[in-house]
């Protein structure tokens, strides 16, 4: 049978000084799957994203991506293999206009190779990408300088920056944080569509309701360890999750 696994994480551990940020976490991701990662603040979600994308080196463990161990590789090399990520604190290239923000990933060796060295119509490609994430094509928004964009646009620009790479695996680090209800409602179908078209996605999110609607599988982290993994309904029913995650919300 054909191996559909795109990512296989084996007992990865990361210490920051005396603090264990990620402890013995293992999981795998199938091609075309959408995996949700949830957990309370400080449970290691962003560290996990940083480990997967090369921004942080694991102390031990393997990260097998398309049958190749990428643990500890430099971020641009990981990205060149087709893993794109958003940042939780979205920082666009402030002094460039929105569509010029996308020229930078489009200029990468990976994209040049995928496009067969053809490079003439990059402005059009950038505008198309922006349209895909909900920028109004014929308005002035794609041409606005990034520092003047509203937060919802900045987050979606971040998504477009990832899509410019033509990724095989997309990792979203709290894409919805700081977005209004309307903005989330507008962005969720974009992600669903990407997933339906075959893109594998790992989605780290605090907005559980939206996440549970689109995720095939959900993994719960607490204090850096995997607590539960399963379908959204299984995870919602789990007592361990309520204790670790939802329980802490009752206290607040």
């Amino acid at each position: 049978m054909e191996d559909r696994t795109i990512l296989e994480v084996e007992t990865v551990t990361k210490w920051f000084g005396g603090v264990a940020a990620i402890v013995n976490v293992s999981f795998s991701l199938q091609k075309g799957e959408l995996l949700g990662v949830i957990g309370p603040n400080g449970s290691g979600k962003t560290t996990l994203v940083n480990l997967l994308t090369g921004f942080v080196k694991p102390n031990s463990g393997k990260i097998i991506y398309q049958r190749k161990d990428i643990a500890g590789q430099q971020p641009h090399k990981v990205a060149a293999l087709g893993i794109a990520r958003t940042f939780q604190m979205a920082k666009p290239f402030y002094q460039l206009s929105a569509f010029k923000n996308l020229i930078i990933p489009l200029y990468s060796p990976r994209v040049k190779k995928l496009r067969g060295g053809k490079y003439g119509d990059r402005d059009d490609v950038a505008i198309d990408l922006l349209e895909d994430v909900g920028f109004e094509r014929d308005s002035s928004v794609p041409y606005k300088i990034a520092s003047s964009l509203p937060h919802g646009y900045v987050k979606r620009l971040e998504l477009a920056r990832c899509l410019a790479l033509r990724p095989d695996l997309l990792i979203l680090d709290e894409l919805f944080s700081g977005m209004s209800m309307a903005e989330v409602a507008g962005t969720l179908p974009i992600i669903e569509k990407l997933n339906v078209e075959g893109l594998s996605i790992i989605m780290v999110e605090h907005r559980l309701k939206e996440l549970f609607r689109v995720a095939h599988r959900v993994m719960v982290l607490n204090f850096g360890a995997k607590v539960v993994e399963g379908s959204p309904s299984e995870v919602m029913a789990s007592d361990a999750v309520k204790a670790a995650y939802l329980g802490s919300e009752d206290d607040a």
């Binding site: 971020p75 920082k91 930078i104 990933p105 041409y143 410019a164």
Partner: protein
């Protein structure tokens, strides 16, 4: 019936969507756009011809000003990648010493030593900075501040390359015309190629590294490679300045690594408005002649110079170039309506 008029900005109707796309339909519009570029170039090219009017002293000041402009442009390019340098003297000194040594030891002509000194100086300085290119902000700045001082003292104590006395009696440049026009051309070539470079896709990547290097990395681009290239290109401009001045003064000594060559270009860029290159040149063309004009005040010169500098920076924190550009685009004309 009386004519009615309203005010309209000159650039209205020229700009299309973004700031750098224009639709031109008349000579006046072309003139409006071209003037700010053509006029300074014309003045620069004509100034050397006015030797009889302005005198040799000010012609020589032009050479020094062009040199400082090159250093300021070099600083600005590095700043565009987010590398704040406090030590353009490193490139200047490296270019100057290599050129001087090639002429002193092998009697090579300036036509050979200046290009070699430019290339070699930039290469040497870039290699020296390689290990610290991963540093950012103030940490990188401190290293660049220290390196030229270190090299200067190293030459003094080890007595290599002429030691504390330097190397004198180097070949002069052919004539004053050569000096003036090489300086002016170098400045113009550097200014316009840097402005071009930063707006190309390559330059967008450089600006991206300045704004958010992590996002560039996750865009599958090696920021280290781009930083090295940018430092080398910036180094070429500054090392050329050093190489040129070595033959201009017919001397190279420890003064080539002096702090002046680090601080004055930095001040020029900040005063003129960093990130635009034109600003750096405007800054240099204010600071250097001002410093010369104030010579008559003797010791008080530094006081006046500093006071003027402080007033400028406080009054125009955005930089002179940004201010001028804003005002230029706000010019209005009266148009008939109805």
């Amino acid at each position: 019936m009386a004519m009615r008029y309203r005010k309209e900005r000159l650039d209205r109707g020229i700009k299309v969507r973004c700031d750098d796309v224009f639709a031109l339909s008349s000579y006046r519009e072309i003139l409006y756009l071209a003037m700010p570029r053509v006029l300074p170039v014309a003045i620069l090219l004509l100034f050397p011809l006015l030797k009889g009017v302005v005198g040799l002293y000010w012609e020589k000041t032009l050479v020094v000003t062009c040199t400082v402009s090159l250093l300021a442009l070099s600083w600005d390019l590095m700043a565009s990648v987010g590398l704040i340098s406090l030590g353009q003297a490193l490139f200047f000194g490296a270019g100057a010493y290599l050129t001087g040594y090639l002429n002193y030891a092998f009697k090579l002509s300036p036509i050979v030593t200046i290009p070699l000194g430019t290339l070699g100086g930039a290469l040497f300085s870039t290699l020296l900075l390689l290990p610290v290119l991963r540093l950012r902000g103030i940490y990188f700045a401190i290293v660049t501040l220290t390196l030229p001082l270190l090299l200067g003292r190293f030459i003094e104590t080890t007595k290599i390359l002429g030691g504390g006395e330097g190397m004198s009696g180097l070949s002069p440049l052919p004539n004053i015309w050569f000096e003036l026009y090489v300086a002016v051309f170098a400045l113009l070539v550097c200014l316009f190629s840097f402005r071009r470079l930063i707006n190309e896709d390559y330059g967008l990547v450089l600006q991206g590294i300045r704004d958010n290097d992590r996002a560039v990395m996750s865009g599958a681009i090696s920021i280290y490679r781009f930083k090295i290239q940018a430092v080398f290109i910036a180094g070429l401009a500054a090392s050329f300045a050093g190489a040129f001045m070595t033959h201009y003064y017919q001397f190279v000594g420890m003064s080539a690594f002096a702090m002046d060559y680090s601080i004055v270009p930095l001040t020029a860029a900040v005063l003129g408005g960093p990130g635009t290159f034109a600003g750096s040149v405007i800054g240099a063309f204010i600071l250097v002649p001002l410093s010369e004009a104030l010579r008559g005040f003797g010791t008080l010169r530094v006081v006046f110079y500093s006071a003027i500098l402080i007033i400028c920076v406080v009054a125009l924190p955005e930089g002179i170039f940004h201010y001028m550009r804003r005002k230029y685009h706000q010019f209005e004309r009266l148009t008939e309506i109805g």
